[in-house]
């Protein structure tokens, strides 16, 4: 009888990211409604996401708020608060990425009512692969790559670098000490994503930060 067992087929026809995308849409609606421009910052661990955000916090002050998803300790959020803006730490429970539901939950804990608040930055979990598939409801996906990681990373992580709108190359202060071809990185990133905008900065020394922050300010004052 084995060959003859009838199988019943049940259609599912459901995109797996459906639930995430519903939360992302609801985050986007909430944030756009409050006229808050939102940025999803993705990089490998140690590329300088928190340092970049500290530097931005000094520039934007109370115009900016941060959702910190990077590590489970409260340390990164504390660094941001010290630099002068509101920060909420997501407990990721060891997950390799943030999803839109976690961000939705975080938004419920934050004070989004201030008229001054115009920019929300989400520091994703340090990982170049997993966060790339999850829309969080952001307006801008930003990839951060730092010089010590090497200039061959773009084509190794095409899923991320094809989806970002802005590439920030960080730790430019190390350029004299590291063999890193900035143009190669830019060319390879454009080959995945012709419209990507590139900023070269040092979050540590502040080099290039004004151009990057001016660009963001133009985005949210439009």
């Amino acid at each position: 009888m084995c060959d003859d067992i009838t199988k019943q087929t049940v259609n599912i026809l459901t995109p797996v990211m459906n639930k995430n995308d519903r939360f992302a849409a609801s985050n986007r609606e909430l944030l756009n409604g409050k006229i808050i421009y939102t940025l999803n910052l993705i990089s490998s661990p140690g590329a300088g996401k928190t340092t970049l955000l500290e530097s931005m916090a000094r520039f934007f002050g109370s115009k900016m708020a941060v959702i910190e998803g990077d590590v489970q300790t409260d340390r990164d959020a504390e660094r941001i608060r010290k630099a002068g803006c509101q920060a909420w730490q997501i407990e990721t429970g060891g997950s390799c990425h943030l999803d839109a539901e976690a961000v939705n939950h975080a938004l419920g804990h934050m004070d989004l009512e201030s008229d001054e608040l115009a920019l929300l930055c989400i520091e994703n979990v340090g990982n170049l692969i997993c966060p790339s598939s999850y829309d969080l409801g952001e307006n801008l996906k930003v990839g951060l790559l730092s010089l010590p990681e090497g200039d061959d990373k773009i084509l190794k992580y095409p899923s991320l670098f094809s989806r970002i709108s802005v590439l920030v190359i960080n730790k430019m202060d190390l350029l004299p000490h590291i063999d890193f071809d900035v143009n190669r990185v830019i060319d390879e990133c454009r080959s995945l994503n012709p419209e990507v905008l590139v900023f070269t900065v040092s979050a540590k020394t502040g080099e290039g930060m004004e151009e990057f922050c001016d660009f963001l300010e133009n985005q949210f004052s439009d």
Binding site: N11, L13, T14, V16, S95, C130, P158, S162
Partner: protein
């Protein structure tokens, strides 16, 4: 390994349509080559998750689609199996992605009389 959470999303979606968990014979899914999902690690994770959550040990049948791209230099529309394939006519990588990021659970097959 976001494939682990994706595998859990898959069983959540299947369980919702079936109104609970039951042993499955086959699960048919579609993955686009630009989705950022590794079929091998998804298969590995799904096997574990399905067993753990009471869906048995179904065969996971993965349809891998081709991506559709449009060349921004010569306007050719072309298909690609991965990110590193440029325009077949002019070689350019200057292009827009039309599709290739899909990831869907298409259907499941259940043995009659096992519910």
């Amino acid at each position: 390994m976001h494939e682990l959470s994706l595998a859990k999303d898959m069983t959540r979606i299947i369980g919702k349509v079936l109104g609970g968990c039951k042993p499955l014979d086959t699960v048919n899914i579609t993955i686009g080559p630009l989705s950022g999902i590794s079929p091998e690690s998804l298969r590995f994770c799904f096997t574990e998750v399905a067993k753990m959550e009471g869906f048995g040990e179904p065969r996971l049948v993965i349809t891998e689609t081709e991506a559709k791209l449009i060349c921004l230099d010569c306007d050719a529309e072309y298909q690609a199996k991965e990110f590193y394939q440029g325009c077949p006519l002019c070689g350019s990588f200057n292009r827009r992605i039309l599709s290739g990021r899909e990831f869907t659970v298409d259907s499941v097959e259940i043995m009659e009389g096992t519910d």
